[in-house]
Symmetry: C2
Subunit: 509 residues, 2 copies
């Protein structure tokens, strides 16, 4: 074992160091600095006064992050002003080298320009370290999670009092938890006995363009990624219901155990929403567990104009919805819902004697550890509870409407250009397109693909805009998610001009 | 689908609501309120001026949390002063109904009185929503994670540059990730083919008192919880190395595939540290993957006086260490280490075309999504990087030394009492004991057990102290974790007096 770089301090110096680190007045001063730096940063970023992403190569950033740790080893701050100066330096460096999601030119991944007030609420439960596993450790954190699960579940369409749910650390873990529940319920004793005695091998039937975490779940859960049966898509890249019916009929005839059908609302590549009512009917007919990954699209339920996209969601046996996507929460706040309240305890089937107290058995109903993969768990719903309590669900409706509407506008803008080609009209706020300047018209498909990728890389490294790419049917496309409500039409007009300009430079080389 | 309680706002009103919610000046004012409320709260709690836990029944808290959501539906704040007043109300309610881990009378679960400055650093990356999956989305978040993984891994004893690691959302997920890697490496094609063709059924060999997440991992990964072989303990409740050797010999003779041996540093019930050097020798001899759950005890490596407890940790194939335990970070910041850098990619074996960009293949080395269960992931190492950069690793040494030393003092205090009986001398800051007043001497073992549980419940619901319970060999005990460095000897003296007083009242009924 290597020696630590510090030599041990005498006991009284250790005590002094701890007292300094926990001093409430220091926390107050540093907190005031933090708020000032953050609010200034938000102003600059929202005004589009700087780059979206100040690009540095990974190794340059890593070297700098190491240097700061090494500086800490030299010695702790000798007084509060020195501590505050150092604090400012570390915060400023962090702000200057990050991704600026609140910049109106951020039109990238399905990660939002989060509601800043949500982070303030989050800081309250983070600083006081309110956690869950058992009710006692986070009584209020438990209560707000229950309230949020109830309200969001009802908004998704589940009948009040007749469903259950939980909050977990991200959409991948949420999908894993729901599919684990499906596996345990569907395959009987797979929790205790494992899968080694299961023959024929069970399958997971999934949307052909499911998020990678769905296929991963099959790998994690011992089913095997080869055991994922991909349902072909219709012309709108939605799950083809007739194909699903045929697949389930065939599997049932062969007595192949079916863990679940995993549908998408929406699928990530182009944001296509599966026809859930029809899929639910097919699943019910074949007696198959229906899981819906509504991580991105679930929040459409808040919108009077868009909730039709997730009609039928409440017919699913399990649903995942990420508040850190279209409810504009900072990461991570993902929710799992079960139509049948009894399934809350089906994922994990154990107890830890030091957690679950036989002297108060009724309390276990409020202990999150029994239904969550996490033992210690953050109060991840705090930001959502706080902002919902402040503004009401109308805020989430406004965020959905604004970003969905802007995507329709962007589609029409693209359609009106000679040199841009949208893949299709968007159903939500995900839009896929290509730039096809006249110089590319006689190039090969491969060259056109490479151009899209190179163009994107040039744009993001310039810091002017941030957008992403995707592959559809083996071809490369540009892809935007309009997930910053501060982005407006003028910024999208600017994006097209920026792509043209960067493209000209690229093609002239 | 139920209707939302609000009717849709006109477009201009939606825009106004969004502008108000994102206004940097409002964020600044609310942030200043938050810091004032939090620093005052910390002062009151650290001074032990109020209860540790202000006890409310779950349904009372849940009803109140619902009421606040309903109040949000009535209408958004009409101006900034109204918003701030409402913000204060929500924050105050949260602070008044939580668990106060910074109270010196908090001596409960393995969840620390976290470093408040860590939460301020965390708020910076939370408000700006710095996330990872790919480097582009969180370049600085990625860099600080890499720097922390390198520094902590070296402190744990891994040779610089010859190991790898990652940060994930909690110890349970960290153990799952490491054991998934062990399963994939050990069982060949289990990721793609699943476990259905594996015969004889593979086993996981584990410390008999492993954290429940280890057994759960066997359930999740398709091995089955029945396939966990529990290694008997020695007289100090550590893994018995001779028994381990015999078990592995027997399994190898029978050609039973062994996914891993899971050791503990330390195990949760009494904080016993396994003899890692000896265990590693046995595992190497039998060619078995050694996993060490050092979630709690890994941080002993920071201490010149205590690092002997985790000697041999660097010989393990995978190690889990929770910074949100003995590095005093707010939840969640858990780390996984692999001795062999190639194992970083063994847990998950896929790509998502819209994440991983063929135009910059070298960049995938810095994309966390390939080695993490999470796709979108918090910048969970920010608080650790910030406080380490401010104070150096000597702060973590001071925290370990202070809380470990206090536990030795508490043990001696208990030993000196007629009516208290410690289970054994603690190795770290977890201490198990019973209260055995003279009135209990002629009671049955069951009655003595019930008394411990009832006594604990009376104490925690009074708000005077917070401690926990555990079961050992079928008997009930009181259990403390001294994980608040502001707790001092005088507070532990007070705990004994409080237990006596509450016990008297209990026995007089």
């Amino acid at each position: 074992m290597t020696e630590c770089t510090n030599s041990r301090l005498p006991d009284n110096k250790q005590r002094e160091l701890i007292t300094a680190a926990y001093d409430p007045q220091t926390v107050r001063l540093a907190g005031e600095h933090m708020i000032e730096l953050l609010s200034k940063h938000l102003r600059v970023v929202q005004d589009a006064s700087g780059p979206v992403l100040h690009w540095f190569e990974p190794n340059e950033n890593i070297t700098l992050a190491h240097k700061q740790l090494a500086a800490g080893e030299i010695g702790p701050p000798s007084d509060v002003p020195e501590l505050l100066a150092r604090f400012d330096e570390l915060v400023k460096q962090t702000l200057s080298r990050g991704q600026n999601l609140h910049h109106p030119h951020y039109v990238g991944h399905q990660v939002p320009a989060s509601l800043p007030l949500a982070s303030l609420f989050d800081a309250v439960t983070t600083m006081t370290n309110q956690v869950m596993a058992i009710y006692e450790m986070g009584p209020w954190a438990t209560a707000i999670e229950r309230a949020i699960v109830n309200k969001l579940g009802e908004t998704l369409g589940f009948p009040a009092g007749e469903f259950t749910g939980l909050v977990t650390s991200g959409g991948s873990l949420a999908n894993l938890t729901a599919l684990l529940t499906a596996r345990n319920v569907t395959l009987g004793n797979s929790w205790s006995r494992g899968l080694t005695s299961h023959s024929p091998a069970p399958v997971l039937v999934a949307h052909a363009e499911s998020h990678y975490c769905v296929t991963r779940s099959a790998g994690i859960l011992g089913l095997g990624t080869d055991q994922v049966v991909r349902v072909p898509l219709d012309e709108r890249r939605r799950m083809n219901v007739n194909e699903l019916d045929a697949i389930l009929t065939d599997l049932r005839q062969k007595n192949v155990p079916i863990v679940a059908v995993s549908a998408a609302a929406c699928a990530t590549p182009i944001g296509a929403f599966d026809p859930l009512v029809d899929i639910a009917e097919v699943c019910q007919r074949h007696d198959v567990w229906l899981h819906v990954d509504a991580a991105h699209g679930g929040a459409a339920c808040f919108s009077a104009r868009h909730r039709h996209l997730v009609e039928g969601l409440h017919l699913a046996d399990s649903v995942v919805c990420d508040a850190h996507k279209m409810m504009f929460m900072p990461a991570l706040c993902a929710l799992v819902f079960y139509r049948n309240p009894e399934h809350r305890y089906a994922a994990f089937q154990q107890a830890a004697p030091y957690l679950f107290d036989p002297s108060a058995p009724g309390m276990a109903e409020f202990d999150n550890g029994v239904s969550n993969l996490e033992c210690t768990k953050r109060a991840a719903a705090m930001g959502l509870w706080g902002t919902w309590s402040l503004f009401g669900s109308r805020l989430f409706e406004a965020l959905v409407d604004t970003t969905f509407d802007l995507s329709q506008h962007f589609y029409e803008l693209l359609t009106a250009q000679d040199d841009f080609e949208p893949y299709c009209r968007p159903e939500c706020n995900i839009l896929v397109f290509r730039h096809l300047p006249v110089e590319l018209r006689d190039r090969s498909p491969t060259e056109i693909d490479q151009y899209q990728l190179q163009l994107r890389r040039a744009v993001i490294q310039s810091g002017d805009y941030y957008l992403v790419q995707t592959q559809l049917d083996g071809r490369s496309y540009l892809r935007t998610t309009l997930i910053n409500p501060l982005t407006q039409a003028v910024h999208l007009q600017g994006l097209l001009e920026n792509l043209r300009e960067q493209g000209r430079q690229l093609l002239s080389r």
